[in-house]
Amino acid sequence: MTIPSEHREVEELLGAYAIHALGDGERVVVERHLETCSTCRREVDAHFEIAAALALGQAVDAPPPGLWDRIVVALPPDGTAAPRADGTRPTVPGPLRGWRSPRRVAAVGVAAAAVATICVLAVSLAGTDQQLSQARQDLRSPVAAFRHALAVPGHRTAMLRTSTGTDVAEIVVDPGGRGYLLASRMPVLAQGRTFQLWAVVHGRPISIGLFGNHPAAIAFDLGSASATTLAVTVEPAGGTQTPTSPLLASGTL
């Protein structure tokens, strides 16, 4: 538990922390406090955002020619990622639905505005219980959990798509029924509204969960529901037992 006096002292340092204006000693104190204080984490995140706006307010020239080439050359030559400090490599997730599995390494340096043309080595995905466990435990970062789940054999994916064909979120569900949703083009809802996720089982919608008015990444539990269709509606905050609005988007696992 955070000591109130410590909280007050650290609170005063949050602005300076967010713009990297602390010495090492105070920085360590703040980072330790942030591990347990969500109030201060929220404030720091808000300061980070404003600091980024300051950066964006400056004149932004095109990056120098050749910078992208330098980046490409600095990537690990086998097309994967450099080992971590402990010598392990990050978990390699599986292919996104509809995409072909990358099989070969390639890299290219192109003009800044052009798109890279590296392709990557196929990595055989050894599914283990350990990976499944890791995916479930790593809820601190839903993106990391999403990636881990993609690496678990037997996972299912779905793209939530609007009736006009816009992809708004991607879902992966592990064999144990644990799911992760990554939003890409979900609109921001007004206060008092929430997105609600539904599984369609035997033709009937079953609420899977609420995920607020501006979701980025969330975890949910599909359990043993034999659903193959997932859908999202916009509902009043607190949710509803049955959908009260047209489907915003839906997808098939």
Binding site: I71, V72, P77, G94, S184
Partner: protein, 214 residues
Amino acid sequence: MTESDDTGAQELGHGHLLRPANPERVRFLAGAGDAQLVVAIGRYLPEALAEVYRRHAGAVYGLACRVVGNRSDAEDLSQEIFVRLWNQPDRFDPARGSLRTFLLTETHSRSVELVRSRAARVQREERDARLDSADGHDLDREISDFIVAHQVTDALTRLPEEERRALELAYYHGHTYREVASLLDQPEGTVKSRIRSGLTRLRRSLTESGVSGR
């Protein structure tokens, strides 16, 4: 991918193979959100890193140039930021902010480290000497040369003078708040509070003008 996809591949000196980007993937990624891009990077899809570069390299490089004060170091630093994203994509948590905020926070942090390093110290002191010898308007002009986004400029200029000075010296010049206090001959606690209140005031102002927010 089939073997035929590799038609035209050619060997580079560092062992990479060239081939055209996957157009389907490129189209998908052009409309992808932050989280999707980072997941794709986690899956070693280089087109995703290229899309992140296309969107944010100018801002990353521009900020690095502004803080470290020379193009060569700024290029090194920009390279490091994107390579680190490739190697450690899970360091980005979309629940805590946008990818742009994440990249610029990393850029600023590394730029400040560089500025504070021994090699950069002499250069910084010379630059500060020039600043100190000028009146307050010189700093305004220098900042305004770089700040072209109207709302940001406007929000900065509407800050109380003391808050703006403290923020500029810390953010753009890489000083600690204690150094800022010394430069401005003000109590450390006062400067610390002004940086925090300045950021809070900027947030309010930028939110009103629609700049802030993901």
